[in-house]
């Protein structure tokens, strides 16, 4: 079937893509700048078409625990929120990671800390990629840079989530969530009629009971479980790294940026090249796993790197680890809900690398 072309906000695209991906349940709580997701789903009323459940919970905490309950039944379930709401969900997220349950969590990031602002930011990078809740765990983190990717990554998220029995976070921001672009939508998929063998669906006589838990008081068994998680994360690091390169082949200076900042940097590359400065851009699409290997390779070819993020400098730490001292690495980014401009990025390239 052909894809359908629509003009949509990023938030609406996620919601429509979720219905079309055959998602079984969405559990959410309103928070700006992502409330269009639950509004769109309530309006679309997919319980009458695909049978998808849409529920407005009493809190972010309840919503993420509903995701836990649904995921443990082997269902395709998701939630969405923005930064302060994602902080509230962290307890549930670590339980989901500890119980090895698949699900999708969308974070349409706004500036913080605290209640912060409702404007776009990228200041939740550490929280998303390093765990966020307690204990040793990782989410798989996808960073869309367009409305199209917010739609496409719904399907990709569930594919990865079920493949690895691991929660996936789509780390968007208020700009991509709110802006309208054209988007090609996939045809409607049927909801799955079967459940994985580990799911709690009621114990038939033909199998042992299924127990979903993240508890083990025996330190030896708990360590074996932790080692199993480490092995899983290493496999993900090995197989699931995704990134995009823009004019890197002859680049002397490399920008590293994701999401909205990557779009700003693409323009900055064009402006810089117009002025004779050979700049390239590497856009990580997966933030965990991070494109460490590729950045390390590029460090042999360029004279310096600039991590551009709408934060005080978070991803730059992963770039520094990847570069491992081979070339100078700097950070630049606006905060508080202000989107960096391409001209600002070009000025920083000049001042840091050209000495202008």
């Amino acid at each position: 079937m052909e894809k359908e072309l629509r003009l949509m906000k990023g938030n609406e695209a996620v919601a429509e893509a979720a219905i079309r991906a055959g998602v079984d349940g969405y559990f959410g709580y309103p928070i700006t700048p992502q409330t269009e997701i639950i509004e769109y789903l309530m309006e679309a009323n997919p319980s009458q078409t695909t049978g998808m459940i849409v529920l407005q919970a009493e809190s972010e905490i309840a919503a993420i625990n509903m995701v836990y309950g649904g995921a443990a039944c082997g269902k395709k379930v998701m939630t969405s929120s923005s930064s302060p709401g994602i902080s509230l969900k962290q307890e549930g997220i670590t339980y989901i990671a500890g119980a090895e349950l698949p699900c999708l969590i969308v974070n349409v990031v706004r500036g913080g800390p605290g209640l912060g602002t409702i404007q776009p930011a990228q200041s939740d990078y550490f929280q998303a990629t390093k765990g966020g809740g307690h204990g040793d765990y990782h989410l798989i983190v996808l960073a869309p840079a367009s409305v199209q990717e917010m739609a496409d990554f719904v399907d990709l998220s569930f594919e990865l989530a079920f493949k690895y029995r691991n929660p996936v976070m789509m780390l968007s921001d208020g700009a991509i969530g709110q802006m309208m672009e054209k988007v090609y939508l996939s045809p409607q998929k049927e909801r799955s009629k079967t459940a994985p063998d580990w799911a709690t669906t009621g114990k038939p006589a033909t199998r042992e009971r299924n127990i979903i838990t993240s508890l083990d008081l025996d330190p030896n068994r708990q360590e074996v479980f932790n080692q199993k998680l480490v092995a899983k994360y290493n496999e993900i690091r090995e197989k699931e790294v995704r990134f995009e390169e823009f004019q890197c082949s002859d680049a002397e200076y490399l920008l590293v940026a994701y999401g909205t900042s990557a779009r700003v940097c693409q323009k900055a590359v064009q402006i810089a090249r117009g002025q004779g400065i050979k700049v390239g851009l590497l856009r990580p699409i997966t933030l965990f796993p991070f494109p460490t290997k590729r950045i390390n390779e590029l460090a042999d070819k360029v004279k310096g790197m600039l991590s551009v993020e709408m934060s005080a400098g978070q991803m730059v730490e992963d770039v520094l680890l990847a570069v491992n001292g081979k070339v100078p690495v700097y950070h630049f980014g606006r905060m508080g809900g202000i989107v960096t401009t391409p001209e600002e990025v070009v000025d920083i390239i000049k001042s840091k690398f050209i000495g202008g």
Partner: protein, 240 residues
Amino acid sequence: MTENTLSYCPGCGHGTAHRIIAEIISEEGLQSEAIGVSPVGCSVFMYNYLDIDWQEAAHGRAPAVATAIKRLLPEKFVFTYQGDGDLAAIGTAETIHACNRGENILIIFINNGIYGMTGGQMAPTTLPGMKSSTSPYGRDVKTMGFPLKITDIVATLPGSYYVTRQSVHTAANVKKTKKAIRKAVQYQKLNKGTCLVEIVSNCPSGWKMTPVQSNKWMEENMFPYYPLGDLKTPEELPTK
């Protein structure tokens, strides 16, 4: 019930409550239909004792977890088993809102007026003047608040369908509780709202009493504050 050894202290009501639930699941032929949600607290390992599918919820979140299970698998029998700290303190919001939405789940609420698993701290249900490790001079309601009758609150919500308070400390009470839980299980099939069965129970270790003393103390002190009986009853079940 499985062959696993119960982790409860001698004389504790949890084992009896487990047994009643297991018997009803067996007698009603619900083993393949039942999905249980266990809490954080003394009954955190309940999934080791009943031979059905289980989910272990975060502290207080069982009603939210059960909400999603029942919404996604509406033909199944979904129940939570929660203590007073889990249900009436950290999980108050989840309890009230699941019941207010009228989720078609059964909540079994064990109220022993104390945090048993962490070693006898004050619970929201601890009686005025009652001693615990965090109210060593007795619960002073002026600074520590009053014991919360959450079951009474749930009974006032339009979403709740059958709400009752029972105990399991005598053979006669075990019979009554079993009857109440069986009713709740049958009501559940009607999909008319949340059923909540509170079981006022003892905690010999936490209360620092023998099992016999603790039962007597419960009758003399807990029951006057938490009187046994139905708080909300629907119309009679349709005859078969």
